[in-house]
């Protein structure tokens, strides 16, 4: 396998380029027959909430963020037969239409890549220490965590509750 100098996890303010990231992921291993990627972007509205979103501030826990996502990738590698994985998450000030997050996975066949990509996103949504604050004409508000995201992770047999009041008591 060629030497791999690309990090698996990047937390950055800068934007990212999907094509370049996928190319790097493929170049790491000629056995790759499938690459699956997911990109999350900033919406200009939140269902059930008033006001258009003019911007979004993303805060994180430097150190823990990287460690937690590295651990998620290790878990994905144990669970699925994948070759490479790449996660980029942006922080700081973002605007509607901006890219926020990239998860890309490579494997020999499509099934493992599709599954690992979804697994990583479900895991990241409820366990990586990021927080979003939306700015609207009605003022700024912290985004609420969604119970449906916990349900998405539970589907993989992982009961790590993000939203409940006493999950960790």
């Amino acid at each position: 396998m060629p030497a791999c100098n690309t990090p698996r996890v990047s937390i950055q303010t800068a934007d990212f380029d999907l094509s370049a990231e996928v190319a790097a992921l493929r170049a790491q291993d000629p056995r790759v027959g499938a690459v699956c990627s997911f990109i999350g972007t900033v919406r200009d509205r939140t269902a059930g909430e008033p006001g258009q979103i003019s911007s979004m501030e993303l805060e994180h826990y430097p150190g823990m963020t990287e460690k937690s996502i590295e651990a998620m990738i290790d878990a994905a590698r144990q669970r699925f037969d994948i070759y490479g994985a790449r996660v980029i998450h942006r922080v700081g000030l973002l605007a509607p239409l901006d890219q926020i997050v990239l998860v890309a996975v490579s494997s020999a066949h499509r099934g493992e890549s599709f599954q690992a990509c979804e697994f990583l996103m479900d895991y990241l949504k409820t366990q990586a220490p990021f927080w979003k604050k939306e700015k609207t004409p009605n003022g700024a508000r912290w985004v609420d965590a969604r119970v449906s995201d916990d349900a998405a992770l539970a589907k993989w047999g992982i009961a790590l509750d993000n939203t409940s009041l006493d999950a960790q008591d």
Binding site: S68, L124, A128, P129, F130, W131, W142, V143, N162, D169
Partner: protein
């Protein structure tokens, strides 16, 4: 023992500091949370029992029963909303 306590997002905003040193005898993270609540004001409000507060010990999410050790880095934050 001395520990570093970090706060994030809405809890950081309410308490008004991102990080502080605490001298504590609390044996667990849950006990430390109770000590902080006892300080009253924004601590009591933002860390109150019945509120969704997540905890981390040395940068790993953990339960309130986790044992505190000298020099530990503890964090309190609301449910995460990345992705």
């Amino acid at each position: 023992m001395k520990v570093t306590v970090k706060y994030f997002a809405s809890i950081r905003e309410a308490i008004g500091v991102a990080s502080e040193q605490c001298d504590t005898q609390a044996p667990t993270l849950g006990a430390l949370r109770d000590e902080l609540i006892a300080k009253g004001g924004a601590y009591a409000e933002s860390l109150a029992r019945g509120k969704a507060v997540r905890l981390a010990l040395n940068q790993v999410m953990c339960h309130e029963s986790a044992v505190l050790v000298e020099g530990a880095e503890v964090a309190f934050f609301p449910p995460v909303t990345g992705g």
